[in-house]
């Protein structure tokens, strides 16, 4: 790392107090939450938005400084700009809370702050008139703070801490309309499912930390690491010497799988995805921010952060790949049958995250293209998915219903929303000029490059299905004739809502052309250089684009014309359609497991057992003493002569006992 770059960065304002980026939302959270909220709601909104936008500007500045110090293509070091010792378990297990700056964290910081400030702006309009307006912005700021804290964490325990805080703020935001029982249930479900996954994450951390601690206490600090490194620090965990040693201890793969389950829980991969669709109960900007751009990608970020260790263990990445691919295809199929606009977008998010996860999964120590592709897709997806959600929000805001079948013909009524929604739909379907095309194409290329042909095929298929269900909802909501009278007095969203839409639309158009590989990539162990772009070979983008276009065609064919051919097709599918529509009854299975088994067969018997047996035992002793007291009291017969007998036999008894004892 050359000196010039280092000192150029050393005196850059942004780098030195990078801690301001997460700190600003935190201070505004405290300020708004405690003081401003009770007094004026409007001011709360403004202050919240201002703080997040300043930290967005700061992170842009930091990105500029960083990449000017380490130009594209060069090696991007991970620098801890500021940290202090928060908690000291013992001398090898120390938690230094601080900010770690490298290309990955800058990418996430930019995305999070940018989308969050847009959502804040959008919410000022969307939430006007709702009660708890101030409370909403406080939660939003808390969320942004915890997300940023998670992203800049230099050690895995700080990640876990902010991981939990993100979970709590999502719980608060989902349950914002707490008078609605369904919102309360959804927030509870979200928190408990993520908490369940965090359990595995915590056990994973403990396992790695303790083994690391044992290694360090036996062999000392591995060379090349600073003296006061702790077993929690990413530098220690991702250190190649350490991971090989852990591997031949045989605990690396189980630990990483545990951590991956934690990531899967937060990013709603297959078995733990049930909470995301229900999370739509929260206000739409929340879904846009949390369930599109930021929180759900935390899992991807974590796997990316530990990519080197994951690559060191053979099977961990494979698990990620196959689970990602399955979620991708599974969610896409369900998305085609949903009628609630936000549910469709939720399932589409699930499938896109499946994309990112299996992109990481297909990458390996040698072939690191997948890593770049996944992060590129994360970057682009954040923008167009946020746009889709905000667009849907605008639609719902004016039509006051989520069901796409009583919308229709909104294009004329809401021109800006229509255009921006169209751009986003094209982007996600992978049509050429928009961002989705480039990132999705790169993922498919990476899958093909690493000879994962099955996953490659799934990728292609899902690209088509995505295009199909996206255009299905576009056509049904915006084109065709109005299906309910609510549509008549629909009106264009106010300025504060349309500006973010337009900005996002512009971004989705432009961002595809960035040579992402030069900025965000990880050096492959063998070649040493980062393979940013899929070189030469068969141009993968052609089949990808073709499947996208066929998807659009089918959608147009089924929903475009007057005759609704769609219902015909669904009858033919019959029972299959009903199963997909009911989301494969996964929710009912969970419901059965949690309520029936846990409540009925575990906690009730325990509560009963506690009341009857353990409590009974105590009462039994009480009863026993009283009973023996009563029987003994009957010895006092009142007859003087029996008393005399007692006395004499007492003497005889004592003599006999002494005699027995003496002999």
């Amino acid at each position: 790392m050359n000196e010039l770059a280092n000192n150029a960065l050393a005196n850059s304002f942004a780098f030195n107090n990078a801690w301001l980026i997460p700190a600003l939302p935190f201070f505004s959270f405290l300020l708004v939450g405690l003081f401003i909220r009770p007094y004026s709601e409007k001011l709360a909104g403004i202050v919240a938005t201002l703080s997040v936008s300043t930290s967005a500007a700061l992170s842009l500045w930091l990105a500029f400084d960083y990449f000017s110090a380490f130009p594209a293509g060069a090696e991007h070091p991970a620098l801890v700009s500021w940290s202090f010792q928060w908690l000291r378990y013992n001398e090898y297990l120390v938690v230094n809370v601080g900010t770690l700056i490298d290309s990955l964290s800058i990418l996430l910081m930019v995305v999070v702050t940018f989308v969050s400030s847009l959502v804040h702006l959008y919410s000022i309009g969307y939430m006007k008139g709702e009660d708890g307006y101030g409370r909403y912005f406080t939660y939003l700021n808390l969320f942004t703070f915890s997300m940023l804290g998670l992203v800049v964490a230099p050690n895995i325990l700080q990640t876990y801490i902010f991981w939990e805080l993100v979970g709590v703020s999502s719980f608060l935001l989902i349950g914002f309309y707490y008078t609605k029982p369904s919102a309360v249930a959804a927030s509870k479900k979200a928190f408990i499912v993520t908490r369940f996954a965090d359990l595995f994450f915590l056990v994973g951390i403990l396992l790695i930390a303790v083994v690391g601690y044992n290694l360090m206490s036996l062999f000392g600090v591995p060379n090349g690491l600073p003296e006061n490194v702790s077993a929690f620090d990413f530098a220690f965990i991702t250190n190649s010497g350490v991971s090989t040693m852990m591997n031949n201890f045989g605990i690396l793969t189980p630990a990483l799988i545990l951590i991956f389950i934690g990531a899967a829980g937060k990013s709603a991969l297959f078995p733990l995805h049930i909470w995301l669709p229900d999370a739509m109960e929260g206000p739409t900007p929340v879904s846009a921010l949390i369930h599109a751009a930021t929180m759900v990608v935390a899992g991807v970020y974590l796997v990316a952060r530990l990519f080197v260790t994951f690559a060191a263990s053979e099977s961990a990445l494979l698990v990620a790949a196959y689970l990602g691919a399955f979620t991708c295809i599974f969610a896409a199929i369900i998305a085609c049958t949903q009628n609630d606009i936000k549910r469709v977008l939720a399932y589409s998010t699930l499938s896109q995250i499946g994309y990112m996860m299996f992109a990481l999964g297909v990458a390996s120590a040698t072939e690191t293209l997948g890593y770049t592709a996944s992060l590129f897709h994360l970057f682009t997806h954040a923008f167009f998915k946020a746009l889709l959600f905000l667009g849907a929000g605008a639609v719902i805001h004016s039509v006051h219903t989520n069901n796409i079948w009583n919308m229709g013909g909104l294009a004329k009524k809401m021109p800006i929303t229509n255009i921006t929604f169209l751009i986003a739909t094209l982007a996600i379907s992978g049509v050429w000029p928009f961002a989705g095309f480039f990132s999705k194409d790169e993922i498919i290329a990476a899958a093909f490059g690493n000879h994962h042909y099955v996953i490659f095929a799934i990728g292609l298929l899902v690209a088509g299905i995505t295009a199909f269900y996206m255009f299905r909802i576009y056509i049904v909501t915006f084109l065709g004739k109005a299906r309910s009278e609510a549509v008549d007095h629909a009106h264009e969203a106010p300025m504060t809502m349309t500006i973010p839409l337009m900005i996002l639309a512009a971004l989705t158009a432009v961002v595809g052309f960035i040579h992402f590989g030069d900025y965000v990539s990880v050096a492959s162990i063998i070649t040493g250089d980062a393979t940013g772009h899929a070189e030469g070979g068969f141009p993968i983008w052609i089949p990808a684009l073709l499947s996208g276009l066929t998807g659009i065609g089918i959608a147009w064919f089924m929903y475009g014309g007057e005759k609704d051919r769609a219902t015909a097709v669904t009858e033919k599918l019959g029972v299959i359609y009903r199963v997909i529509c009911a989301k494969f009854y996964i929710d009912e299975i969970y419901q059965f497991i949690t309520h029936k088994i846990i409540i009925r067969f575990i906690s009730t018997p325990i509560a009963w057992f506690d009341k009857r047996i353990v409590d009974g035992g105590v009462d039994l002793t009480g009863w026993l003493t009283r009973r023996s007291g009563a029987t003994l009291s009957h010895l006092q017969t009142g007859q003087t002569q029996t008393y005399a007998a007692w006395l004499i036999n007492g003497v005889i008894a004592v003599v006999v006992i002494i005699w027995l004892y003496a002999s």
Partner: protein
């Protein structure tokens, strides 16, 4: 066995027989007055035993105090508490059994114990101190390390308090108030 020992043994067994029979009568006879008489005979035989043991002074005291005083007192009590004729009802079967078992049990344990312990017999000095009565008198009032003047004083206090107690308890109240419970007793304070 020289003649003195012979008479000694015969008298011993004779008296023993009489006193045991009389004792059994005391505890079993139905009419209480007859029991009192039987008690008197037991005590008289007791005095006889003391003479055998060469303690004729004690025998005299026994006859005088025990038979003369206490038995007469008991006879008074018998007359005061019940008419001469009324007979006592038999103790219940189980109570009698319990009594027999316990007393025989005690007897057996005591005898086995005496059987198996060798008592430190004092050397059989032929002559008895000149006069037991004189010796006892000296002991009773002696101040020295072997005197018993202290118990002598204490017994006097004991007898005094016993008599006072007996008077207070046995005094019949002046007023023939029907309600004998303690409540009414208070009104007139202690009858002098």
């Amino acid at each position: 066995m020289n003649p003195a020992e012979l008479t000694h043994t015969i008298v011993f067994y004779g008296l023993a027989l009489v006193s045991i029979v009389a004792a059994l009568l005391v505890v079993t006879v139905k009419r209480i007055f007859r029991a009192a008489v039987a008690l008197a005979t037991v005590l008289v035989c007791g005095a006889g035993f003391y003479i055998l043991l060469d303690y004729d002074f004690i025998a005299g005291i026994q006859l005088l105090v025990y038979v003369g005083g206490i038995v007469i007192l008991i006879v008074f009590a018998v007359m005061l508490t019940s008419s001469l004729e009324d007979t006592e009802i038999r103790p219940s079967k189980s109570r009698k059994a319990l009594g027999i078992i316990s007393s025989l049990g005690f007897l057996a344990t005591a005898l086995i114990a005496f059987q198996s312990t060798s008592f430190p017999l004092s050397a059989p000095t032929p002559e008895q101190p000149s006069d037991v009565a004189l010796e006892i008198g000296r002991k009773l009032l002696g101040y020295g390390s072997d005197g018993y003047v202290l118990p002598f004083e204490i017994i006097s206090l004991l007898l005094l308090s016993a008599v006072i107690g007996a008077i207070v308890v046995a005094r019949n109240p002046l007023k023939k108030s029907s309600d004998l419970s303690g409540q009414s007793e208070q009104s007139d304070g202690s009858a002098t």
